[in-house]
């Protein structure tokens, strides 16, 4: 039964991830006084890419071919671990597993970025790794604030604990810390700009420059899924006082929408940071997490 629910929820997350990405895009456009594309545009892009031919470099090896699948598989597997419907304590829903599954995908994508043999790819890979290295301690610290309270790294129990506790100062600190991590991890302004292919600013996009057609579609989709996973973690673990019971589902959806709009606001109201200011940005997140630990 657990496995079935887990599958349903993975499918749900995977299917809805582009929608959330589209909502963020539209909200951002509205905030900038543009009409923007519709919220379903990401699906259309995906369809377009699916039917395009692809160009593959002569330099690349099989790593380049399998990397998109592993990136996608990592995202899907991680999506199955997020405790939305199932909060049962089966031995699968572990937060470290989730983080390391995402890291597995990133590892292979960085390898693929080196495989093409162009400077752009390598630069994208190097920067992605740079950000990932800095994000990791901040991410773990912020998650730890919840895990230490719940005395477990089981996501279901952590979510339940968060849902049943009341709003406190510790949660305010922890949530702000995790939100900064979320921005960095999903490649958003002020850390990375998801809309640019400009050499000076790109990070994530640099890695995927060599990809085209369906493989690019897979990578896009997986990135959307990863973004939704991070938003869901934020909603489930860091916002206490959940409306548990019958309204849980609607509550989660509403909160995800709110967070998406909040991301759009944050993106519109800030500038992109210089790459070497990112450590400071994440150091603030670490400090907030430590404050949350103290405030507990």
């Amino acid at each position: 039964m657990n496995i079935l629910l887990s599958v349903v929820q993975a499918v749900g997350v995977v299917l809805l991830a582009p929608l959330v990405a589209g909502i963020i895009k539209t909200a951002k456009a509205r905030l900038q006084n543009r009409r923007g594309p519709g919220i379903f545009q990401v699906y259309f892009d995906f369809k377009k890419l699916l039917f395009k031919d692809s160009v593959i470099s002569v330099t690349v090896s099989w790593i380049f071919t399998i990397a998109p699948y592993i990136y996608f598989a990592g995202a899907v597997a991680a999506a199955a671990l997020v405790p939305i419907i199932t909060t049962a304590s089966s031995g699968v829903f572990d937060v470290f597993t989730l983080i390391y599954l995402l890291a597995l995908g990133r590892f292979f994508l960085v390898l693929a970025s080196l495989d093409g043999g162009s400077a752009f790819g390598g630069m994208g890979g190097a920067r992605e790794m740079f950000i990932a290295i800095l994000v990791e301690p901040a991410l773990l610290l912020s998650i730890l604030t919840v895990a230490l309270k719940a005395q477990t790294t089981n996501l279901g129990l952590m979510a339940m604990h968060a849902a049943n506790s009341s709003l406190s100062l510790a949660y305010v600190f922890a949530a702000s810390a995790f939100f900064m991590v979320l921005i960095a991890e999903t490649g958003r302004v002020p850390v990375d700009n998801p809309d640019t292919h400009l050499e000076l600013t790109m990070i994530h996009e640099g890695m995927t420059l060599e990809y085209s057609g369906r493989k690019l579609a897979l990578i896009f989709w997986a990135s959307a899924v990863r973004q939704l996973i991070m938003i869901l973690l934020f909603v489930l673990l860091f916002i206490p006082d959940n409306l548990f019971g019958s309204a849980i589902f609607i509550g989660i959806i509403l909160k995800v929408l709110l967070v998406a709009i909040f991301i759009a606001i944050a993106e519109t109201s800030t500038n992109k940071l210089r790459l070497f200011k990112v450590p400071n940005f994440l150091a603030v997140s670490c400090l907030l997490s430590l404050l949350a630990l103290v405030a507990q």
Partner: protein, 673 residues
């Protein structure tokens, strides 16, 4: 008893291996096959011996050797058997590998190398099994000296000799502390036999001194920061299969020594013991992986990564000691099993990496990854095995490295139960964050190492001409890669062994280590139902992969065109590829206070300012501990020697004068004036 027969057989085989090279020495090929076959047999017997001990219980024998201090007894309990198992597995594989790799050494003193190789295995077996203080120290010393000669094998290169001397000095420094620890213990117990040694008979103060000495002594051998400086020099200097053995097994002799002292002899101590280990462990892990990341000599990179992994192992041990001193046996059991699991894992994947590096070295004749590239097409199998080892070292699921790292994370999470209050929380938080940093750096490090070595276009002629390694080496690597996968998929088997290994020590409770459901890894920490299931992770990954394939094929057959990589209209060449130095640049900048790389210079080779400039980019790293700790000591020793030199001029008259002066002083003093 089968186990004791097997034990004698094993010792006999390794000794025969040492002797055999004297008879076959004139014939290189014969030496290679005979000496390494004997080592292979001996290692296989070691595995069997360990298995029989696990099945039949502790084994004790008295070796037929009479030394002045009495008979040498050997006892193989579960802890010894566990380490003997590691030695057996790694020894078997390196011996197979050596068939192929030794071809490089047909004209480079092969008999010496093969004989020392057997002696090295023999000495490590003795270190793991003897149960007498003097015998242990002799075995320990033989191991150090033999490995010194192996490190120094290619003495034509001055860098190797220097590495070997630094190694022998450091390892003896460690041995001094080990001897002190043993003598204090034996003095208290009044016996040199391991079974009589206990920390309960000495005073609190002496116990603390014993702890510090054992920690420094074994920490030196393990390569703990700041005593690690020999490791990144010595391991790359040795022949690759010996490097694999040194990293895979020899470093573990130190871990064995620590377990023996902390679990068996000393028992639970004050909290600061564990806390001290934890602090040094996390420093070791972070420093090790940082230096590994910025390194571009492939074998040095792996050596630094060993430093990092020793840090992770020590995290488990340190946490276990904290839990022991607070009487939390279940958590202590989990902590020590995390450490010992990582010991096994590290032995597997680090040996595999060193073998891969050896294959690359043999094929391309360079250890500098900036010269490599594109090897995945020339050496497809080696590339696959190296990818497996990279994923395993980077602790990514679903391979074995992930499991021990996960266990370590769990242990650190429960640390506040022993260290209560806000300090414990912050301590645990910082440890977890830094372990996360270590993990992320390891991912980046091995993405670079694999990516630059094997992917894109070859960066030099040597890399272009590389060919696949011989079959023997591939078989050896395949065995280890398979073991990494199996230990990742089915960790329960390993936990069963660990539960037996650690169950014999008081202060540890390992009954809950093996969970009820075979597919779930959930160390019963008594406070949660957290756990992971590798089976589920695999299933999820596969289904994700399948969904990806499905989406990929939803629109019918894909039309692909083949073209050059887009480089803005220029024909791509290897100069455009990213380098390892470039890859780690941003990290060097962020961590510049630890990684002093301000020796970076851009050299313009010809004088024209604008056209046809030939640029060279040099990076020199100033190592923090070398410049802050070792250089001052060096300088002090040299200036003392200078001062002594001015006294010791070598002139006889002056010495007669000294004798006169001393005699006068003594005469005056003896009159009681």
């Amino acid at each position: 008893m089968i186990a004791s027969d097997l034990y004698y057989l094993m010792l006999l085989l390794f000794s025969t291996g040492v002797v055999s090279v004297f008879f076959t020495g004139s014939h290189a090929k014969l030496t290679n096959y005979i000496a390494h076959s004997i080592a292979l047999l001996g290692s296989t017997v070691a595995i069997l011996c360990a298995i029989f001990v696990f099945m039949q219980g502790k084994m004790e024998v008295v070796l037929p050797l009479v030394l002045p201090f009495g008979p040498i007894s050997a006892s193989v309990d579960y802890l010894s058997a566990y380490f003997l198992l590691i030695l057996g597995v790694i020894g078997t594989v390196t011996s197979i590998y050596a068939y192929g790799y030794s071809r490089e050494y047909y004209h480079c003193r092969l008999p010496l190398m093969a004989g020392l190789y057997n002696a090295f295995l023999l000495s490590m077996v003795l270190v793991f099994t003897v149960s007498h203080v003097v015998a242990f120290l002799i075995a320990w010393e033989v191991m150090s000296v033999v490995s010194f000669f192996l490190v120094n094998h290619e003495y034509e290169q001055q860098v190797n000799t220097r590495a070997a001397f630094i190694y022998i000095v450091m390892t003896h420094l460690g041995t001094i502390f080990i001897i002190i620890a043993f003598l204090l213990l034996a003095g208290g117990a009044g016996s040199m036999d391991f079974s009589q040694l206990t920390g309960n008979l000495v005073s609190e103060k002496v116990r603390n001194i014993i702890f510090i000495c054992a920690f420094i002594g074994f920490g030196t051998k393990a390569g703990m920061v700041p005593l690690h400086i020999w490791l990144p020099r010595a391991h790359p200097a040795a022949p690759s299969h010996v490097s694999a053995l040194m990293s895979g097994v020899m470093l573990k002799t130190a871990i064995y020594g620590m377990c023996r002292f902390f679990l068996d002899f000393l028992g639970a101590g004050p909290v600061w013991w564990g806390a001290l280990i934890l602090v040094l462990a996390i420093i070791t892990a972070v420093i090790g992986v940082l230096y590994a990341f910025i390194e571009h000599d492939i074998k040095r990179l792996l050596a630094y990564s060993s430093v990092e992994n020793i840090g992770i192992i020590l995290l488990g041990i340190g946490a276990g000691m904290v839990f022991m001193s607070k009487q939390l046996p279940v958590l202590a059991g989990v902590a020590f099993s995390a450490a010992l699991y990582h010991v096994f894992n590290h032995a597997l994947f680090k040996s595999l990496s060193f073998m891969g590096a050896g294959a690359v070295l043999q094929a391309a004749h360079t250890k500098d990854i900036e010269q490599l590239g594109g090897l995945i097409k020339k050496m497809p199998y080696t590339a696959v095995f190296c990818l497996v080892s990279s994923v395993a070292i980077a602790a990514l699921p679903p391979l074995n490295g992930f499991i021990s790292e996960w266990l370590t994370f769990q242990v650190l999470l429960f640390l506040p139960q022993a260290l209560t209050g806000i300090v414990g929380k912050i301590f645990s938080g910082l440890l977890i964050a830094l372990l996360g940093l270590t993990g992320a750096l390891a991912v980046a490090c091995f993405a670079t190492a694999f990516g630059i070595t094997f992917l894109a276009k070859p960066r030099s002629k040597r890399a272009e001409q590389a060919v696949e390694a011989p079959a023997a080496m591939l078989v050896a690597m395949a065995i280890l890669a398979g073991s990494c996968i199996i230990l990742g998929l089915w960790p329960q088997g390993m936990l069963m062994i660990l539960s037996k290994t650690l169950g014999e020590f008081s202060g540890l409770d390992t009954i809950g280590l093996v969970s009820r459901d075979w597919y779930i890894l959930a160390p019963a920490t008594g406070h949660s139902d957290g756990g992971i299931s590798m089976l589920a992770i695999i299933l999820l990954l596969f289904s994700g992969f399948a969904v990806g394939l499905l989406l990929h094929s939803i629109a019918g057959k894909e039309k692909t065109a083949v073209g050059e990589t887009w480089t803005c209209g220029i024909i791509p060449n290897y100069h455009m590829e990213y380098t390892a130095t470039g890859f780690s640049k941003s990290i060097r900048l962020v961590f510049h206070s630890i990684v002093h790389s301000h020796y970076e210079t851009l050299v313009n080779a010809n004088n024209n300012q604008y056209h046809g400039r030939k640029l060279f980019y040099h990076v020199r790293i100033r190592y923090l501990f070398v410049s802050a700790l070792y250089s001052p000591i060096n300088k002090a020793i040299i200036s003392t020697a200078r001062f002594m030199k001015s006294i010791q001029t070598g002139s006889v008259q002056l010495y007669v004068g000294y004798i006169m002066a001393v005699t006068v002083v003594i005469l005056i003093w003896s009159t009681g004036w």
